[in-house]
């Protein structure tokens, strides 16, 4: 399943998994890794750093492209997936299990601005048609 219904999405191809305690986990979608190809390097955001929604916070690099990762919500980075440093290919293998970082959001109103699975599906369909 390339579009888990329990996740939220951004128009820059990040997925967001909300947890009961208000924190969220963030990664990039199956669609994103499919476009990028084999990932060779992931630059995760710095632990403890704060970002505004939409701010560049990391990079994923494949053999042919380098793509910025954008913070889906404003907040502080409270955890970073260390595995990705040595095994970036985990994102290609399972984009929704290979999380990148965890955020403690600072603006509760922003969460509802994220796309649901259906809206994200529409977005990628329109991008591939253009």
């Amino acid at each position: 399943m390339h579009l888990p219904a329990d996740l939220k999405y951004t128009d820059t191809h990040e997925w967001v998994r909300p947890h009961g305690d208000g924190t969220v986990t963030v990664g990039i979608t199956w669609h994103a890794q499919d476009l990028l190809g084999d990932l060779v390097y992931v630059e995760t955001p710095q632990l403890g750093k704060s970002f505004k929604k939409g701010e560049e916070c990391g990079v994923v690099e494949s053999v042919k492209a380098a793509s910025d990762i954008y913070a889906p919500l404003s907040g502080d980075v409270i955890a970073v997936n260390q595995d990705l440093a040595s095994s970036p290919e985990k994102i290609n293998q399972d984009a929704y299990a290979a999380w990148m970082f965890k955020l403690k959001p600072s603006e509760p109103g922003e969460f509802n601005q994220l796309l649901d699975a259906a809206a994200y599906e529409k977005l990628i369909a329109s991008e591939s048609n253009s």
Binding site: V40, Y41, Q46, V59, E61, S62, V63, K64, A65, A66, D68
Partner: protein, 457 residues
């Protein structure tokens, strides 16, 4: 890679294929006001015969001097085989082929070059070269600031080549990087760890250490490297590759080794050629490779399992990373580097060591002879490689002029860069100097110096 120019017929065919009537048509979209390039003051072209004649006359006017000038570009013997091979059609080009068009042979030469420089500097990864030593240092400064992530301040010793300091300043000036000068010890001519104590507790991204420094003196690299790492900063080594035949390589400086090593590759088989083209080398620890600018050749295997070479880690470069690239450089000094690789292969590590020994011993022999010249003294006390600063008691400008009349380029005056040193001359001896040359220098300096003292009365 051969250069095959187009014939008029070729050009016409191509124009027809794209529907343009002339090459000028292709530039239609440039506003007329900007197209006003006038070359009226450029004289008509000369024939090959006329150019040769002109150059012969100019060469005679240059005279044949015996040169003892170093200061960043060094006269070394280049075995005839080096340029005989480097000018072969397979190598000889001013073009820099990129990934899809670069031949396996070209890539292999670069890979061999990278391997040799890593071996020489004692650091894990080397890039395929940069423009020259000075701009390579500027790139290293930018790289260190990116790696450090929090400080934008870099310490530059006053013993670093003045032109390198200017180039670094020019290149980093619009990137909000603060360059701070570290003063030198006036007795030793080096950067003392004590001089750094004022920077303790202040954040900075890197310390640059030249080895040897501009005065030819050997810096206390181990102490400087350990101090830098203790401060949480990076060590950038700016080194002479021939000196590395004798000295500890940057990868073994201090307990953890320098982080980045750069330098001027000209001494390795590239002629002085009135200042260029030369090449800059850069090597770094594996952990830093993703922030290293420049092209990198890697060894890999193809789809059939056969070994081959390729440009790798290209996502650092601007054709992929665009404005976030590690640098805007997308070329390398391919021809100069080819010559350097052949030069190093011919010398081998033992040959390079011997060259370094002779350079060093020649300097010591010269300094020994100069002990007998009244009014001339060695300025600094630190050990030196193949250059040293001489303090004169007569006007250095006139002394050098008198020696020039004797067909000797005795060194460079330091007054312009270090006015506090007064009448001081930086002299260099490479392996190209014979004992008779050293005798001649000492005699000429003695005569010129005393004549100048008499004239000044």
């Amino acid at each position: 890679m051969p250069f095959i120019p187009h014939t008029e017929a070729d050009v016409l065919l191509m124009l027809q294929a794209i529907g343009a009537s002339s090459i000028e048509d292709l530039f239609e979209e440039i506003p007329a006001g900007l197209k006003d390039a006038r070359l009226d003051r450029v004289p008509p072209g000369l024939t090959e015969m006329e150019v040769l004649r002109l150059m012969q006359e100019r060469a005679e006017a240059d005279g044949r001097y015996l040169s003892f000038i170093g200061a960043g570009a060094y006269e070394h013997h280049i075995p005839a085989a080096v340029w005989q091979l480097a000018t072969r059609g397979e190598f000889y080009s001013s073009y820099t082929p990129y990934q899809a068009e670069a031949s396996q042979g070209t890539l292999q030469v670069l890979y061999e070059y990278q391997t040799m420089m890593s071996s020489l500097t004692g650091l894990d990864v080397t890039n395929a070269s940069l423009y020259d030593g000075a701009s390579a240092l500027a790139e290293a400064v930018l790289m260190a600031v990116r790696l450090h992530k929090s400080s934008h301040r870099v310490l530059l010793p006053a013993t670093l080549h003045p032109v390198y300091r200017d180039v670094v300043r020019s290149i980093v000036s619009n990137q909000e990087i603060e360059l701070v000068t570290v003063p030198y010890c006036t007795e030793k001519g080096t950067t003392l760890p004590e001089a750094l104590s004022r920077f303790e507790g202040q954040e900075f991204a890197a310390l640059v250490v030249p080895q040897p420094n501009f005065f030819g003196a050997l810096e206390p690299v181990h102490a400087l490297t350990d101090w830098t790492h203790q401060q949480g900063a990076l060590m950038i080594a700016s080194v002479n590759p021939v000196a590395l035949g004798l000295l500890a390589p940057p990868g073994r400086w201090g307990a953890r080794g320098a982080d980045i090593a750069v330098g001027e590759g000209q001494p390795l088989g590239v002629p002085l050629a009135a200042g260029g083209p030369y090449f800059g080398f850069m090597a770094c620890k594996q952990a830093h490779v993703r922030q290293m600018p420049g092209r990198i050749v890697g060894r890999t295997s193809d789809v059939d399992g056969k070994p081959g070479f390729t440009l790798t880690l290209q996502a650092r470069e601007q054709h992929i990373r665009r404005s976030k690239a590690t640098s805007n450089i997308c070329t390398n000094q391919g021809l100069a580097v080819t010559a350097a690789t052949i030069h190093l292969a011919l010398l081998g590590p033992n040959g390079l060591k011997r060259v370094a020994h002779v350079c060093h011993n020649n300097l010591l022999a010269l300094l020994e002879r100069l002990k007998g010249v009244p009014g001339v003294a060695r300025r600094f006390a630190a050990p030196v490689f193949h250059e040293a600063v001489l303090s004169l008691s007569a006007c250095s400008t006139h002394v050098l002029e008198r020696m020039r009349e004797q067909r000797l380029l005795a060194g460079i005056e330091l007054r312009e860069f270090y006015p506090e040193l007064g009448d001081a001359v930086l002299v260099c001896t490479t392996e190209t100097k014979t004992q008779a040359d050293l005798d001649r220098y000492a005699r000429s300096l003695a005569a010129a110096h005393s004549a100048q003292l008499d004239a000044a009365g």
